[in-house]
């Protein structure tokens, strides 16, 4: 599903964010991307979304080299990748339903599709009763559920999450993780960049560790730190 082949990403000024990285993530996998700040996790995600272009190497998503994607195809790549962030990025003047529906409307989905899919996904994230609430009226955990619903409503092949629990307490974080696991069970590939050692250790999933842009560990049922 995702394949990095000798990918290097350098920025102007000589900083190298990703150094000669090769890895494969299969369809339906659940992967943690760990490493300290500045290790290259965010660049990894930006490369996948084609917000950045690799300096060298190839990145394949669903068999397609995304570095050579023409400008007008980028939106279609992004429709296959749902994305969740630490800061939720909800629209404050739209309610829960509208926030999720917006993701479908702006890619031109007809009204009846919106009317059918949004309640379904709100049910999945457990927010059916709060569909009329504004983001400001929700707790952090609830806001992140809305963000997950928005990322997943179009049934993407891949769900990326950049520090999804960074603003949440441990109990709430666990709830979000259970939700991402459920989404993963539907066949969606899930990639989570995180610092949250508690969650990584608890879930024992594949762990990919970056350090200064280099892949230093790729472990099938890993934990956050070395050992065990």
């Amino acid at each position: 599903m995702i394949s990095f082949e000798n990918v290097t990403k350098g920025y102007k000024g000589g900083t190298v964010a990703i150094r000669d990285m090769s890895l494969d993530i299969d369809k339906g996998e659940f992967v943690f991307l760990v490493g300290s700040s500045g290790s290259g996790k965010t660049t990894f995600i930006r490369l996948l979304l084609r917000e950045e272009i690799p300096t060298s190497g190839r990145i394949l998503v669903a068999g397609r080299d995304i570095a050579n994607l023409s400008q007008w195809r980028i939106p279609y790549l992004r429709r296959n990748i749902g994305c969740v962030f630490q800061d939720f990025r909800l629209l404050p003047n739209k309610n829960v339903f509208e926030n999720v529906a917006f993701a479908l409307e702006v890619i031109g989905r007809p009204k009846h599709v919106v009317a059918a899919q949004v309640p379904q996904v709100l049910d999945l994230v457990g927010l059916s009763k709060k569909r009329e609430s504004l983001p400001g009226e929700l707790s952090g955990g609830e806001q992140q559920r809305v963000a997950v619903a928005r990322a997943f409503v179009n049934r993407p092949l891949i769900l990326l999450a950049d520090e999804p629990t960074g603003n949440l307490d441990p109990a709430t974080s666990q709830g979000i993780m259970r939700l991402l696991e459920r989404i993963n069970k539907t066949g969606t590939t899930v990639v989570i960049a995180t610092h949250d050692s508690g969650i990584v250790d608890q879930m024992r999933r594949r762990v990919i560790e970056l350090d200064h842009g280099t892949l230093v560990r790729d472990q099938a049922r890993g934990v956050y730190g070395y050992g065990t």
């Binding site: 992004r78 429709r79 990025r89």
Partner: protein
């Protein structure tokens, strides 16, 4: 590119309302600059219209009665020939004059005209155009001569004044049009800035660039168009004022400058087109910086 009209209309309206002060500024600037453009165009056409008959250096016209006899005509020609300040004269037949009249007059006015009732004419080039008055005096009431016409000195003055006026108007208009596009560019930028969260989410979930762009472009076009509509109204009103000033008298300078309706319509359309153009160019540049990524 499935961008629904309903969506574009809604977004455009809400953007325009959000930025209403900037919108008003942009619309007014477009209106003022295009009014100048329209006025300059009208003025040029009006003067061209009034002076068509005085081209090729002709400075005096003797109209002969349709009933003129050959001897009378010969006598007039001989007299003219003897005058020292007459350089040359050209004879125009009744048919020629009839066709010219049809071209210069509105259909209403030329309707009653027939070839037989149209006077033939002698058009003379003078060494010194100021002598035109003397010729008019000499041939007024002369047998076979219906009328003597000399160009109003005012027309000549008008020509040079309007040439300068036009230039000034056009320069002002170009400067104002430039500032209008910059103003529109700025409103569009503000509109995008106000919606940057929406725009970033749209990009994230895979909305096409066109989908994001169209409402903003439309906003610029609407601003340009609104300004142009105001300017088109100014053009039409100006035309009506010229008409009223002329008071229906052929000899009146304003009346000679008035334009047939179709030329006014074309001028208004040109003004509208420029408005739309300014709007699209301004918004296209405004959007570019934000959506290139």
């Amino acid at each position: 590119m499935p961008v629904s009209l309903d969506y574009v209309a809604r977004e455009t309206a809400s953007n325009l309302w959000r930025n209403r002060l900037m919108t008003i500024a942009a619309v007014l600037t477009v209106a003022v600059s295009l009014s100048l453009v329209g006025t300059a165009l009208l003025l040029r056409q009006g003067v061209a219209h009034a002076t068509t008959q005085w081209q090729h250096g002709v400075s005096v016209e003797l109209f002969l009665k349709p009933s003129v006899s050959t001897t009378q005509e010969a006598s007039v020609r001989q007299q003219l020939h003897q005058l020292p300040y007459v350089q040359s004269c050209l004879y125009r037949s009744q048919t020629y004059d009839y066709n010219e009249a049809k071209r210069l007059l509105t259909p209403d006015e030329s309707q009653a005209l027939t070839v037989a009732s149209t006077p033939s004419s002698l058009r003379c080039v003078l060494n010194n155009p100021t002598q035109a008055q003397a010729i008019a005096k000499q041939f007024h009431g002369y047998p076979g001569v219906k009328d003597v016409a000399s160009p109003n000195q005012a027309i000549r003055n008008m020509e040079s004044v309007t040439r300068i006026l036009q230039l000034v108007f056009l320069i002002l208009a170009v400067i104002l049009l430039l500032s209008a596009s910059v103003l529109i560019l700025n409103t569009i930028r503000l509109a995008i800035f106000a919606r940057r969260r929406e725009v970033s989410v749209m990009k994230l979930v895979g909305a096409t660039n066109w989908f994001i762009r169209v409402p903003f472009m439309f906003e610029g076009v609407v601003q340009g168009l609104l300004g142009a509509v105001v300017a088109a109204v100014v053009v039409v009103v100006l035309h009506l004022v010229l008409d009223a000033l002329g008071n229906g008298q052929i000899s009146n300078l304003w009346y000679q400058m008035r334009l047939p309706t179709h030329e006014v319509v074309i001028t208004s359309l040109v003004v509208l087109l420029i408005g739309v153009l300014i709007g699209s160019i301004g918004s296209a540049f405004g959007i570019r910086r934000f959506l290139d990524a």
